[in-house]
Symmetry: C2
Subunit: 319 residues, 2 copies
């Protein structure tokens, strides 16, 4: 493959002149420009963008870490990030991690090696200290409250959302409330657990570990929840389900087993995905696409900021 | 930032020696190695991987073009691609196109500029001639039958699948069959249309344009289909729905409007997503994750190949 020196030799001009023509700079005579363009044509020369990145120190690539790309929660965040990336002429490098820390490390290493300009971490397994060590290499944006940590973030207040939703159910007469989450670890799950325990304490209600259902990610996981509930002597009368997909799966399963909603069990979903509207599921609306757009803006801004996104309860037919 | 020349100067060795140390080559004396490692430490030097790419001509990045990342069909293809990328130590660059040709062009330009090693196009708007022009810059893999075109592909036989499913419905007594697709344009849609018309011709059945529902991508699009069907004097007695998500949306809507399935309308979905199993929807199983894995393997193999993936009808309760 021809390089810039070959072009200069062929066109009988300096390397600087070739560079000027390639980068559309002014102050090149028409004659020299013509000679360079002919050399480019003759050698079928293509600018190697890695050389441009090397000289400019920017790749226009933003890394995105997410555990699963086939889960609507992350797919909607990704949609928002991708929308802004497109408008701002950036590309995305995707790291699908399955919550494996080694895969998160690969993303952080790409930031270190300047293969990406910034990194958005939608959900993580690695410790905060590892994130902090890598901040020197470029912006890292998280999806959890990072106020006071000198790390940018876009987040919802999981503690308050959970507490408010539990209060709403309590005011509707529910005293035995369970909840479904993805994983038990992680900052967001920890805040939800804290809200749940504080709620129980406030009303002097007992904590039943079997009322906490984890590994609830997908529609089909609703089946597992109902299978477990059917075996209980004292099943919960209401469930907070941190994904509309899982909530929809639970509703379908209850129909199958003729369990009345909200009569026998009340359900609150999360996200306000279209499936919740169509299935008339009460849900907490989280503007995921908007959150994704904000994550992108923070990734390219270069300034540290923390944005709390507000949510709202959409009352429908499952409570 | 220190570069390799600074390191050489500081360590009192040649640039070649620094390079050998950085790339773990043998034949460097322990003394010189130590001096270089100390200079690296002192300058907090980090290898700029763009320089490595420039010298090796490989980025270990594979581009993936898809119209939407928040649609289960593409999310499952992406899952398979990402799974193999991880196992083979590649990263993915995502191009979410909304079927805009300009965005597909950006992906092709990244291949041309050597920012990615290969490009997987899950669905496209651009013409085949544009794809062919870019094959000189690296492998491009498509999700449609490319036999005889010198382009690698992993695909299902949309003509045969559609024809077989129509025959199945016909044998169950259906003579007025409609179908739901994403977009009317595109090679796959064109093959389905051909199968539909050939089926009608075979049995001397009339073609009703209102029986073809396009823009059916998501769960919520099922509502639109049922709204239109309810207004028809002569509604179809069966629907082929090229997405389980849309099929599930149709089933939920029929429940709401007390339209009996399969009594008043029979439904065949596509993909065999978990939602179809849980909602007992008859569907055509398409192994999307496996297809994604195969697309990746073709992207890195460097050889042109065409793989037809077989599908099967899963009989459940909606026909």
């Amino acid at each position: 493959m021809a390089n810039i020196r070959d072009l200069a030799k062929m066109a009988g001009v300096s390397v600087t002149t070739v560079s000027r023509v390639l980068n559309h700079h002014p102050y090149v005579s028409e004659e020299k420009k013509k000679a360079v363009l002919e050399a480019i044509k003759a050698t079928n020369y293509h600018k190697n963008i890695n050389a441009v990145h090397l000289s400019k120190g920017k790749t226009k690539l933003i890394g995105v870490v997410l555990p699963f790309s086939d889960h609507p929660y992350f797919a909607l965040l990704l949609k928002g990030i991708a929308k802004q990336a497109l408008e701002n002429n950036y590309k995305l490098v995707l790291f699908q991690t399955d919550y494996m820390e080694s895969r998160e490390m690969e993303a952080l290493q790409m930031l270190e090696q300047k293969q990406i300009d910034a990194l958005i971490i939608c959900s993580r397994s690695c410790g905060l200290s590892i994130i902090k060590e890598h901040l020197q290499f470029g912006p890292i944006i998280l999806c959890e409250n990072m106020k006071g940590h000198q790390i940018s973030s876009t987040f919802v207040n999981h503690y308050k959302i959970f507490f408010d939703a539990l209060m709403y159910l309590y005011q509707k007469g529910h005293k035995t409330i369970g909840y479904c989450i993805g994983r038990k670890s992680g900052a967001n799950s920890w805040n939800r657990d804290r809200a749940y325990r504080d709620f129980l304490k406030k009303y002097g209600l007992p904590y039943y570990p079997e009322y906490v259902f984890d590994q609830c990610f997908h529609f089909e996981d609703g089946e597992k929840v109902i299978d477990q509930i059917k075996k209980m002597d004292k099943p919960p009368s209401a469930l907070l389900v941190t994904s509309d997909q899982v909530a929809a799966g639970i509703v379908i399963c209850c129909q199958k087993h003729q369990i009345a909603i909200p009569g026998e069990i009340a359900i609150i979903g999360f996200d306000n995905e279209p499936i919740s509207r169509m299935m008339n599921i009460t849900t907490v609306e989280i503007p995921l696409v908007e959150m994704g757009e904000n994550l992108f803006r923070q990734a390219v801004s270069g300034e540290i900021s923390n944005h709390e996104i507000s949510v709202k309860l959409i009352e429908r037919g499952t409570v």
